[in-house]
Symmetry: C2
Subunit: 593 residues, 2 copies
Amino acid sequence: MPSYTAPTKDMQFVLHDLLKVSQGDIPGYDELEPDFTNAVLEEAGKLTSEVVAPLNVSGDKEGCTLENGVVRTPTGFKEAFEQVKAGGWTGLDMPEQYGGQNMPYVLGSAVGEMFSGANMAFAMYQGLTHGAASAILVHGTDAQKDTYLPKMVACDWTGTMNLTEPHCGTDLGLMRTKAASQSDGSYKITGQKIFISSGEHDMADNIIHLVLAKIEGGPEGIKGVSLFIVPKFLVNEDGSLSARNGVAVGSIEEKMGIHANSTCVMNYDQATGFLLGEEHKGMRAMFTMMNEARIGVGMQGLSQAEAAYQNALIYAKDRLQGRAVTGDQNPDGPADPLIVHPDIRRSLMDQKSFVEGARAFILWGATLIDAAHRGGDEAADGLISLLTPVIKGFLTDQGYDMTVLAQQIYGGHGYIEEWGMSQYTRDARIAMIYEGANGVQALDLVGRKLAQDGGKHMMAFFDLVKNFIKENGGADADFDREFLEPLKAASKDLQAAGMYFMQNGMKTPNNALAGSYDFMHMFGHVCLGLMWARMGKAAREALKTGTSDAAFYETKLATGRYYMVRQLPATAMHLTRIESGADTVMALDADNF
Amino acid sequence: MPSYTAPTKDMQFVLHDLLKVSQGDIPGYDELEPDFTNAVLEEAGKLTSEVVAPLNVSGDKEGCTLENGVVRTPTGFKEAFEQVKAGGWTGLDMPEQYGGQNMPYVLGSAVGEMFSGANMAFAMYQGLTHGAASAILVHGTDAQKDTYLPKMVACDWTGTMNLTEPHCGTDLGLMRTKAASQSDGSYKITGQKIFISSGEHDMADNIIHLVLAKIEGGPEGIKGVSLFIVPKFLVNEDGSLSARNGVAVGSIEEKMGIHANSTCVMNYDQATGFLLGEEHKGMRAMFTMMNEARIGVGMQGLSQAEAAYQNALIYAKDRLQGRAVTGDQNPDGPADPLIVHPDIRRSLMDQKSFVEGARAFILWGATLIDAAHRGGDEAADGLISLLTPVIKGFLTDQGYDMTVLAQQIYGGHGYIEEWGMSQYTRDARIAMIYEGANGVQALDLVGRKLAQDGGKHMMAFFDLVKNFIKENGGADADFDREFLEPLKAASKDLQAAGMYFMQNGMKTPNNALAGSYDFMHMFGHVCLGLMWARMGKAAREALKTGTSDAAFYETKLATGRYYMVRQLPATAMHLTRIESGADTVMALDADNF
């Protein structure tokens, strides 16, 4: 059975060597001293490795069951959830006012990776609750916040997001769910929502559904969509639970993976709902949740890759098969371990350089969110808005590919459910789809984010890269050659792609859209390239100033060199594709496919 | 539920426009007139689409069950198998002497793709039988052939191949299964084999296991391995079934996919076995089966991609979501079909250009096998030996990726088992693993095949490309630019990679092995590039000489242009990685991962 060990040490490296969080001038960051974050991460690591991870395989096997309207989560889930709640982990970065611990998002993100890596399906129950609570926090009235947030921050009540309907996912303007205004200011919600993660289950006393619906008589299409709070049980003024609301699970889906998370068809039949935010501004309110969810989903890509990699590494060191071409490495054994073989190394290094780069990227992104939300930094807000589709799309695509690589190392055993490696790919697969399929992320990136605010966020990113190269170049020829030059080349490719879009996409938008997916991937590579260059610098600094753990920093440098040489050059291929434009992509009539 | 339509028309194009099989001078090819092959393919298409394909989803859902030593295949499998047998499909390319129809392998391959595309798990029962029969055909005594082949050609008895043991898959030298010589010339086989596809089931009267084992007292390691025929039921002289042999299924595996094929642990306890081929030459005999199986597995990559693509295309035309950026394409409907969106096109064109290129590649490979086996063409034999790991490794990796793309087009519905798209990825995943994991294919290619016979097969391939470009260049500037120049560039990359291996891999083998996987992929791209150039030529010829189906040939050209512009440039990236050598790959000590 696979195991999970929280990557605490690497997180500490990212937080302190790379991001130097405790020196940052973001409110709350001064608390993030290495000893403190280490204590938090160690504790979370223990809980996730010992309590949450052991339920991953069993949860997948057992799945959720629906009987008489009751969804049962797998054996042990409820008990583990109680432990997570008791430890205060569900409100780590939530306001103290509502029972949270008011920690920065960056620390919540690190802890979040652990939960997701240990058991993705399990972590979703609290993850979606966090997203729903955030939406209420930003858009709710004081009364709504007081009613729902304390319970949701504690995960005594969980949350969901209800967007998709059978005939519409991406194109929410086609939505049919209706909201009828009532004289008391509430609404009656009627319609069917599908693919509702954690829609119904047995781990919480109440479930707070955030539901998109159209108020009758409102504008057509997406402009007539509003967001509603629809609790499973209505809530009395004193906070106690009242009548069961008109919402019920219709069925649960049989899925490729995340079996332990209940994916529900939810039927709303004159359910009482309360407007969250403004009428017809539902998408705006939902996007508070969506943006957080998208970064959280990007993290799922990373977390599944990390968990799969850990196990692939154990297997590669353990499994004896064949001999190293350069001479026996395990002469007393019947064969050498897999890890001696160059092609196994290639695979492991692909995985290692991805997960460490992705972790830095995610946590850097989290500091941008903290800077925006806690520090009111508009530039950071713009930059993370630009990077969100990259985090979601690139990290889930690559994360999935890494789980496939990890599975491959097991040979036939990787295909057998008993060994648990198939689950990582099956679970990771959903991350490419939900919260906006990755093609939609690419569209969002190229069609919207790239030119947002006159393109200034994209320019800011390029400046960031340029300035890093400028500030750190010329001091050491090795560093220049190994890190800065590849980064410069990749960034140049990215700029050339942006230029191509400007010159060819204005008149013929298909020229931009046909290259959107490649652009998202090349952007992701440049982000990881930037992260590796920064980590390379941090590692060199640590080695220069003296460290008792030179092997760790040397390994970091070697891993970065690998990424620069083996992964980053993908940008050139993406650029070639982008510059070929839309002609070959759009050449066929639909009938001629 | 997904559907499957046999790609008869495209197969006819490959057989006749491209390969011009009926004009070939390979024995038996003169029978392959278009009318004849069309009749065969139409008939096979009907059977696979109407009888075999409808059992794909139900077979996945129901799976195989083991009770009291009896494995039950899913409902309907036995009846469908009887229909396949009654139609004579199982012996299409087998000798008439043993009840086959003696058709060339190329026709058997086209039909094989249909069976595999319709239902991969189902097709494996006959596919493995075919492989086992081939091994007996080549290495068996006349008596063995007479005893087993008529029944196996008819699939009254099915076959298996038994290589893997719990502690060894790739490294068969570690094998522990023993064969004890008996006074009557037979052997007693004792040991455990795992991952035995179709190892036990209820669709045949007898199962003929081909089992690798070590004769006691023989040489150590792989040089002491022999191959044995171990029937489930011993066979009397008159061909009737005798006593149950000492072989039994221990358990069946729970797998990620191919649920409808029983993957068995087989326990041999003093089972009677009969030497097939020579003592201690078991690997050679097994490789007759393995090479065929590897090409068959490459075809599974193609077939699952084809089936998934067909359904993704239907969905992309059917599902209304969003509007084309260039203006409404379906103004009377609530939204446009997915296929109007450039990023959906990109995905569909990736899939289409892959499956059509891969089909040409596989069928061309089959003509090489026919030329070698039927025509005694040693050059063809050498070339297909070189290409076998490319067919297996590249087509299964890419085929899998295409099933992921197809699934992605369905959005959330792609993740739900009800829609059947998850099954294509789950089934296709095994093809990257079994019959030698793809990393092993890359090792075989670079470590063995590349330099085989003084490297003359690789040189022959380069000559093939060079001559095609030379013979067809200069006549038309469009064709030169669109097809020949990209092919030339890609082939140059491949040559540069080969050169790098020669210059850097001799002294430091890791420099070659660290690039083996990239080499396999770039080789695959060049093969598909060559196929597309040849198909482009064929399409242009058809258009020039006049055809009633201009749209088909124009589509072929457009699809080829896409591959040349969007896929073939990947060779440059692979070359960059290869030329970076082994340093970054092998930098870390195992302990520092």
